[in-house]
Every structure is written in structure tokens, then in C-alpha cells.
């Protein structure tokens, strides 16, 4: 599989949990001409993409002519006749019927909207620009025009317990449910807000509500109705796939090496081809592979877990952190909450036994 990612680093306002440098950019013309330069001149390691994903930032918050023009440039550069999935990210407050129609006309067939919560207090706390009513209206507006809508929600917010009752009236196809992480550089971090403790109950609730509404978990934070897993996101988690990223801070992977574009707007304007390439050691590849696979519900297969110490696996199984399922080894729900620790332990043993 081959995927293209295009990054749009613009937002109307900055959310309290966001640490991306997205303030005060109004230099749309300059950005999109840099982006065009990058698309036309950057080395391509495939020509026929299976997926395109326009993310951000908030791609829907800017005049759609920029987006549509970029899509035209892509179609001039790549053969997009076999596209299986073409996603754009949206915010509830920045969409109109016309905008959606334009997107559809240009081949976009999947929408991912940052709803985050249906509770107005929580939305205010998070620093979002919309309220729950706007969100619900936006959901139904898109569902009128498309049958492929994903929404993002955030749970694990200190002082709140998520309520997903409203989901039952929403025939959406996909949900990404993220735990709130308080990262350095965010407003929350500066305010000294601490991450919520004791997430088990809330996680149980999220899982059961989503299951009851017909969503299957296929990755730690991703749930879908059958057949609506995100093809683009899934390709990131298998090192056999390739992707090319365009725009500020975007990344690409040619099957061996990954490059990361600069995160500085000034540098990007000076040289849109500026990126850092990382060549991974065998060890790093092993860590990454186990990390990506263990995040997925499918887990790791025998070729990997067969190399890991049996004692360690048994200990973790008896503590209900991992389990065998369909011949693969995967994290349990309890295990997902402490997945980093599990990945470290598994990859340590794997690396040691493989002698790399």
C-alpha cells in the first residue's frame, strides 16, 4: 500500500492540549506555494497512491481554494485513478454544505471531524471553538452528503467522566478515541494540569459503549463499523507500506528510511525540501515494529513472539496484560493502558534473544 499525507498547519485557535506550533500563521499563499514546490520537486518512491490524507491543523478552516488547488497539483504529479480512500480533517465550526460538496467533487470520500466531546463544559475546558450543538449539526450535515464519517473524541479528562449516549443517534462509521495526554509546550502543561488518574473504569465504559454501538476496535485508539477501518492510518502501522508526507512536519517512509520535514515554518519557506532522514538500526526497527504492531488489536505473530522469553509472556498473560487470540499475541484492554511498558519488556527480550 502507498499513502500520501498532506499537512495543513493552520487553526482558528489553539486548543489547550495541542503542542503543535500552529499560532499566528496567516501566510497561506506562501505556505501553499512552498507546498506546491515540495510536491513537484520532492523525490517520489511510488507513483500510484492507494490513499491520500489531508490533516492538520484544521484543513477545513481555510478557504477551500487552497485545498482544491493542492489536490489538482497532486493529481498532476501522481496517478490517482486507483485511490481507495481520500480523507480530509474538519472542525465542526468551519464547514458548510458548499465546502463539503467541493471536497466531494475533488474526490475526497472520507471525513474525519474533531468533535472531541458532546459536553459544553468539557469543550470549553479543552479550548475548542465549538459547542456540542454545533458538533451535532455538523455531524448530520456531513452524513447527509457522505457515508464515511469519522469523529475524534477525547476521554480521560481530569474532573470528567465521558458520556457517549449521543452516539446511538449518530450513524457514523468510525471513531478515534484518544486519552488526554498533557504534553510539554501545551497550555494545560503550563497551567500545571495533571493527567487523570484511575482510567480503568472510564476505559471500560468507552469500550462497552462503542461495542454496543457496533464499533469494533482495531487499534488502541481506533474503532470502526465493519469495513470502515481507516486504510490510510492502518498503512502507517505496517513497515511493508510506503508513505510520502508533504508540508510542515510531515513524514515519509520508503520501506527503509523515514524522513521528517522541518517543524519550523521559516525554514520550510526557505527550503520546502528541508527534511531529516533517519536510518534505523536493527534494534530500532525491532522496537518500532513491535510498538506499531502491539498497538493494533491484531498484535504480533509467532515469528516475533516466538523469540520472546516464554517466562515473560506467561507472567504477563497471568497478570492479564496480554493474551493469545487467533494465533497472535495481543494486548488486553488492561494492557493497552500500560502499553509502553509492555512494548519495552517485549522488545528488550526480543532484541536480547535475537542478539542484535
Amino acid at each position: 500500500m502507498n499513502g500520501i499525507y498532506i499537512h495543513i498547519p493552520f487553526c482558528k485557535s489553539k486548543c489547550n492540549y495541542c503542542n503543535f506550533a500552529s499560532d499566528n500563521y496567516n501566510s497561506y499563499d506562501e505556505y501553499f506555494s512552498s507546498l506546491e514546490y515540495e510536491i513537484r520537486n520532492k523525490h517520489r518512491f511510488f507513483n500510484i497512491p492507494d490513499t491520500i490524507y489531508i490533516g492538520g491543523g484544521t484543513p477545513s478552516c481555510i478557504d477551500e481554494k487552497f485545498i482544491l488547488n493542492t489536490i489538482e497539483i497532486i493529481s498532476e504529479t501522481y496517478d490517482i485513478s486507483s485511490l481507495k480512500e481520500f480523507t480530509i480533517e474538519l472542525n465542526p465550526e468551519s464547514i458548510t454544505k458548499d465546502k463539503i460538496n467541493h471536497y466531494l467533487d475533488y474526490g475526497i470520500n472520507r471525513f474525519s471531524m474533531g468533535v472531541q466531546s458532546f459536553n459544553d463544559d468539557v469543550l470549553k475546558f479543552l479550548g475548542r471553538a465549538h459547542n456540542s450543538q454545533t458538533a451535532i449539526r455538523a455531524v448530520s450535515m456531513i452524513l447527509h452528503q457522505s457515508r464515511n464519517l469519522s469523529i475524534d473524541i477525547i476521554w480521560g479528562i481530569p474532573g470528567y467522566f465521558i458520556n457517549l449516549e449521543k452516539l446511538s443517534n449518530m450513524p457514523i462509521q468510525h471513531i478515534s478515541a484518544y486519552i488526554l495526554s498533557i504534553e510539554e509546550g501545551t497550555a494545560f502543561f503550563k497551567q500545571g494540569i495533571k493527567e487523570k488518574r484511575g482510567l480503568e473504569e472510564e476505559y471500560k465504559y468507552v469500550l462497552s459503549e462503542l461495542r454496543n454501538n457496533g464499533f469494533n476496535q482495531y487499534e488502541i485508539s481506533n474503532f470502526s463499523k465493519p469495513g470502515y477501518e481507516s486504510i490510510h492510518n492502518t498503512l502507517y502501522w505496517d513497515r511493508n507500506n510506503k508513505y510520502i508526507g508533504y508540508g510542515l512536519s510531515a513524514s515519509g517512509f520508503d520501506g527503509h528510511k523515514r524522513y521528517n520535514n522541518t517543524r519550523e515554518m521559516d525554514l520550510y519557506f526557505k527550503d520546502p525540501l528541508l527534511s531529516e532522514t533517519e536510518i534505523l538500526s536493527e534494534k530500532q526497527i525491532a522496537i518500532e515494529d513491535i510498538m506499531l504492531k502491539m498497538r493494533c488489536v491484531k498484535g504480533i505473530d509467532k515469528s516475533i513472539y516466538g523469540i520472546i522469553d516464554k517466562d515473560l509472556l506467561e507472567m504477563m498473560i497471568s497478570d492479564n496484560l496480554i493474551e493469545f487470540s487467533n494465533g497472535n499475541l495481543k494486548a488486553t484492554n488492561r494492557g493497552f493502558l500500560v502499553l509502553n511498558e509492555i512494548i519495552l519488556k517485549l522488545s528488550d527480550s526480543y532484541i536480547e534473544n535475537l542478539g542484535i
Partner: protein, 597 residues
């Protein structure tokens, strides 16, 4: 006829010994101003950091004074309580001593203990008050302390400022007048005493000697009395302060003898050197130096084991008092059980390993040597608490006791009594000196002093109290082995030997301290402190609740992998017991346990 004066300067740390040595060399025209002995002698990094002399440095100062040829052999003494035996041997090589007291500080405990050593050797003592140029100098008070200590006249005290040179001329006069010349026994068989030694990578281990009888020169065959080892002398020489060869060392001289000895361990401080074929009476006061404090040293990263081993071997070349043997701990892997003269000696070695050799180490809680005696009276030495067997009936356990001397202004007496009582100390004596200072004497188990007694003493006396100790004897105590179990597995490196009366308090504090140090992990961790099969305290580190990152798409993968790698690196420094990761700090947890109940 040249007059030789062999003497030492007795002084507390920072009372100005090095500066006075500099000034003596200058005033005699031996060295130019600013050509500092301090810079050339206090050479080791740790010496500068701790402001103390670790290895002694000596100098021979030949000069003309009022038409007379004079030689001063200034014999340096190490500046810390851990090295008291070396101090006693250095003093035994002298005919006199200067008692140097900082007029702003007054007399300190260590000064008194060194003074007592000098008295044992019947050395005449010249009292000197230093730093009289400073506004804070209290000449009257410090002087009265000296008068009382030495039972001398106030007029006998020489007032100097080593910094600006005031009074140093007079001091030189007094040294020449008051200190005796060495007894010259030139025509009898060689008898020299080793008072120090050094290691040089080209020339091997070198004994520093004071020649009392006869003489020694290149080609002589000499014998070390304690070992019977025979060596051929390849060079003799003096300290300028660098080593300078001369033809012959004669009765009364201080110098070095090179005789291609590979290992510093073959040289014993206090030992007697004589010529092959002669029979002589050895010098009195010789002791074998034995380590008093032990600790396990383990590499922080197990792959550094070989590097640590090499580094310790190199250190050992310079420091015969430091000993080590390989040791294997279930918790810490391969490492070494190391023996030291005292806690400061341990710190010095630890710092040198880390600074000079760049190996990061985990040191376990230091402990003293215990002895167990079975019913038949057979004695076993225990230098590792984990190896103390369960004591069945009839088996006694003995621990070392010290004579601890504390010198303090009277206002801190109460605190010091409390601290010493808490540490099982028994007060033996209390003496007022010049009404402003008190000398307190305690009989106290060494194990209670080695951890942090000194730091505590300094804190509660605002830095005014000083201390010194001597090993007195081994005596039976009601001691138990306190074990720490993590998820049911005994962590050998965390075992300790404590007094039964304190075991409950100590055990619960240890358990609590470990709970603070050990981070949450995938599994719940039970920490227990136990004596034998009896659990005296337990606590639990709950299982980790969250360590996960929600989003992981294209641009996040590198960042997340790096974060995992960072967490992995942190874990590399951890030691695992069963499935529990224990941070290195935990192995020193006991050191930070307070006395408050």
C-alpha cells in the same frame, strides 16, 4: 655541621598547613614566591574537592640560616580520621611537631587526636596560631585552649600569618632551637622505618623511609622485616619535593628507596627495613592496616564490568589500603566487595572511579566487619550482611566498638548527647577546655558512626563540632540480619545487620523508603522487611495505571520510538530482581533514614 630537623605539622583541615609549608619553603629561599607547594602537592582532583590531603607529600628543605647549614625534612600527614595509622607512623618518623591552630576556629577534635599521637612518640611540640591577620582571629581564646591542651605558657605560642608571612621567621628560629637533631647512629647496622609509600608506573612501588640507624645506598640488599622479602636497592633519594636521587641515605635522613617492587601491597607502613645478613630490633608500633568498612561496588551498566575491574586494579596500585574481591549478587550481578579504611576513604575511591576512570557504579550500603563465634569458640569474619547466617543458640555475634571523641562548643552538648544515645553510644567522659570547648568521649558501635554520624554532627552543631575515632575492641551485641523481600524474593544487596532494638524502626523506614524509590510497574510490588521468617513491615507499590500514547500516525512514529528508547535507557540503569525493576538509588535508601521516630 648541618643541622637536620625532621618534623610534621599537625593541623585540622583548612587550618593552613599547606600555606605554612609554602611559606617555610619561601622564607628559606628554597622556593620562589607563588611557586606553590600547594599546587604541586594537592594534586588529585579528590584532594582539591575535599580540601584534604589523601596521599602525604614530603619535602626536604636545605638552607642557610644565620650562618648555619640547616635541613628541614617536612613530613606531611594525611588529613583525615580514616588515615590515623598513617599519621601515627609519619609522626614516628619525626623528632618534633608543629601544632598549627587556626586562630579564627580554635582547636578541633582531629588536632587533639593527632596531638595525642605525637605525645605517644614523645615529640616536642611547637604551638602555632595561624591566620592572625584575619579580623575574626580570637588569639586570646584560641591561645587559652592551646595553653590548656599542652600545659604550656602563653609565651610559647608563636603567632603567624602563613598567608602574609608574619611570624614565620620566628617560627624557623624556634624550630631550629627547640626541636632536637636526630640521633645519629651512623656506625651501626641499617634500620629504617617505612612511613609512607607511593606507586609510580615506571618505577613500581616505592617505600618512603626515615633512616634511624646506619645507611643505605644503591646495590644494598635489604629485607622488609614483616614479610622477610629481600630486594636489591637500585636508587635512594630525597624529596625536593619531587624525587631526586642521592648517593646514600644516612642516619637521620628522610627519603625514598627504589628496589623494583611491583606491588604496593608488598610495602607495609610502619615496617622496618634492614640489610640482609644483619639482625635488628624492629620498630615498635607496626600494625597491619586492615579495611574497616566494606561496600559492594557494581557497575551501573553490566557491560562495564571489565572496565570497572581494570580501573580498580589501577587504583589499587596507588592505594594499598583499598582492597577488593569479586562478588556476585542476585540483584546487582557481577561486582566487587571492597574494603576501605573508613567512609571517607570509600567516598574517595568511588569518586576516583567515576571521575578518573569514568565508570558509573552502584555502591551498596557500607557496613563494618562483624565476627561470629560458635560454641567451640571458632571465629568467622562477616564482611557482607547478606552472608550472616541465621544465628542459632550459642552463636555470638560481635561488632567493632570505637572510642569516639567530639570537640564542640558547649551549647551543642545536648544535641550531641541525644544523637550519640540514639546511636547506642555510651558517654565515657566530658571535659571542659578553656570553658569554651568541650571534649566528649563516647564508647559507640562503629556501625552507628560510619553512615552519617559525621554529617549529622556537623548539621546540629552548625559546623562547629569536630570528631575523631579509634577502634577499641570487638564486643558481643544483640544484632539481627534484616532482609528486604521484593515480591517474596530476598534482595541480597539490601540486607543489613542492625541492633534488635532498632530493627522494627529501621525495617519499616527501609520499606517506606523503598516504596518511594521504586516506581510503579506493570505488576503490583510487595515490599517486606523481615528478620528470619518474621515479617516486621510491609508495603505495596501499586501497579502502573497508565503509560501509553494515544496517537501514533506517520509523523508521530519517530517521536514515539524516541520516547520509548529514552524510557528504555532509563531502565538500563535499573537492576532487576525477579520481574521487578529497582532503581540504583534504592540500594542506598538506608543511608537517608532519619533518626526521628
Amino acid at each position: 655541621m648541618t643541622k637536620i630537623r625532621n618534623f610534621s605539622i599537625i593541623a585540622h583541615i583548612d587550618h593552613g598547613k599547606s600555606t605554612l609549608s609554602d611559606r617555610l619553603m619561601e622564607i628559606t629561599g628554597f622556593k620562589k614566591k607563588n611557586d606553590s607547594i600547594e599546587q604541586s602537592l594537592d594534586s588529585m582532583q579528590v584532594e582539591r574537592d575535599h580540601g584534604i590531603t589523601v596521599k602525604a607529600h614530603h619535602v626536604r628543605i636545605p638552607f642557610k640560616w644565620k650562618d648555619e647549614d640547616i635541613i628541614f625534612n617536612l613530613i606531611d600527614t594525611p588529613g583525615h580520621v580514616d588515615f590515623s595509622y598513617e599519621v601515627s607512623r609519619s609522626l614516628a618518623a619525626c623528632e618534633g611537631a608543629i601544632l598549627l591552630v587556626d586562630a579564627t576556629q580554635g582547636v578541633e577534635a582531629q588536632t587533639i587526636s593527632h596531638l595525642n599521637e605525637a605525645r605517644k612518640n614523645n615529640l616536642p611540640i611547637i604551638p602555632v596560631l595561624n591566620k592572625i591577620d584575619l579580623p575574626a582571629a580570637d588569639i586570646e581564646l584560641s591561645g587559652s585552649e592551646i595553653v590548656e591542651l599542652l600545659n604550656c605558657n602563653e609565651n610559647d605560642i608563636i603567632l603567624v600569618s602563613a598567608k602574609d608571612g608574619t611570624g614565620v621567621d620566628e617560627l624557623v628560629d624556634v624550630i631550629i632551637k627547640k626541636l632536637p637533631s636526630p640521633k645519629i647512629n651512623a656506625d651501626i647496622p641499617l634500620r629504617a622505618m617505612i612511613f609512607d609509600s607511593n606507586y609510580n608506573s615506571y618505577r613500581g612501588a616505592i617505600p618512603f623511609v626515615r633512616v634511624f640507624d646506619g645507611s643505605v645506598k644503591k646495590g644494598n640488599k635489604i629485607i622488609f622485616y614483616s614479610t622477610g622479602d629481600i630486594h636489591e636497592v637500585t636508587e635512594v633519594g630525597i624529596f625536593v619535593p619531587e624525587m631526586q636521587p642521592i648517593k646514600e641515605l644516612r642516619s637521620g635522613d628522610v627519603g625514598y628507596i627504589i628496589c623494583s617492587i611491583k606491588n604496593l601491597e608488598e610495602i607495609h607502613i610502619g615496617d622496618t627495613i634492614h640489610l640482609k645478613d644483619d639482625k635488628v630490633e624492629p620498630f615498635k608500633g607496626y600494625k597491619e592496616v586492615k579495611p574497616m568498612v566494606f561496600s559492594g561496588f557494581y557497575p551501573s551498566y553490566s557491560e562495564d564490568y571489565e572496565k570497572l575491574k581494570d580501573s580498580m586494579a589501577k587504583l589499587k596500585l596507588n592505594d594499598a589500603a583499598f582492597s577488593y574481591i569479586t562478588e556476585n549478587s542476585q540483584a546487582l550481578g557481577f561486582g566487587f566487595r571492597c574494603g576501605f579504611l573508613g567512609l571517607l576513604h570509600m567516598k574517595i575511591i568511588q569518586e576516583r572511579l567515576e571521575n578518573e576512570f569514568d565508570v558509573s557504579i552502584v555502591a551498596t550500603m557500607p557496613n563494618v566487619i562483624y565476627k561470629i563465634v560458635d560454641i567451640k569458640g571458632r571465629e568467622t569474619i562477616i564482611d557482607n550482611p547478606a552472608l550472616l547466617p541465621d544465628l542459632s543458640r550459642g552463636i555470638k555475634i560481635l561488632e567493632p566498638f570505637l572510642k569516639l571523641e567530639i570537640f564542640t562548643p558547649p551549647e551543642y552538648i545536648g544535641y550531641i548527647m541525644k544523637l550519640s544515645q540514639d546511636r547506642r553510644g555510651v558517654q565515657k567522659n566530658i571535659t571542659y577546655i578553656a570553658n569554651k570547648r568541650v571534649l566528649m568521649e563516647y564508647y559507640i558501635p562503629m556501625s552507628e558512626v560510619i553512615f552519617d554520624y559525621f554529617d549529622k554532627l556537623k548539621t546540629l552543631s552548625k559546623g562547629y563540632a569536630s570528631m575523631d575515632y579509634q577502634l577499641l575492641e570487638y564486643k558481643e551485641s544483640d544484632l539481627v540480619r534484616l532482609d528486604i523481600l521484593v515480591n517474596g524474593i530476598r534482595v541480597d544487596a539490601l540486607s543489613s545487620i542492625v541492633h534488635r532494638d532498632k530493627s522494627f524502626f529501621f525495617g519499616s523506614k527501609m520499606a517506606r523508603k523503598l516504596k518511594e524509590t521504586i516506581h510503579r510497574q506493570l505488576f503490583e510490588i510487595r515490599i517486606q522487611a523481615s528478620i528470619g521468617s518474621k515479617v516486621i513491615s510491609k508495603t505495596v507499590v501499586k501497579a502502573l495505571r497508565k503509560n501509553v500514547l494515544s496517537k501514533c500516525y506517520g509523523g508521530d512514529i519517530t517521536r514515539k520510538r524516541k520516547l520509548l528508547e529514552k524510557q528504555k535507557k532509563g531502565k538500563k540503569r535499573m537492576k532487576s530482581v525477579g520481574k521487578v525493576e529497582i532503581p540504583q538509588d534504592a540500594f542506598l535508601a538506608a543511608l537517608s533514614i532519619d533518626d526521628e521516630k
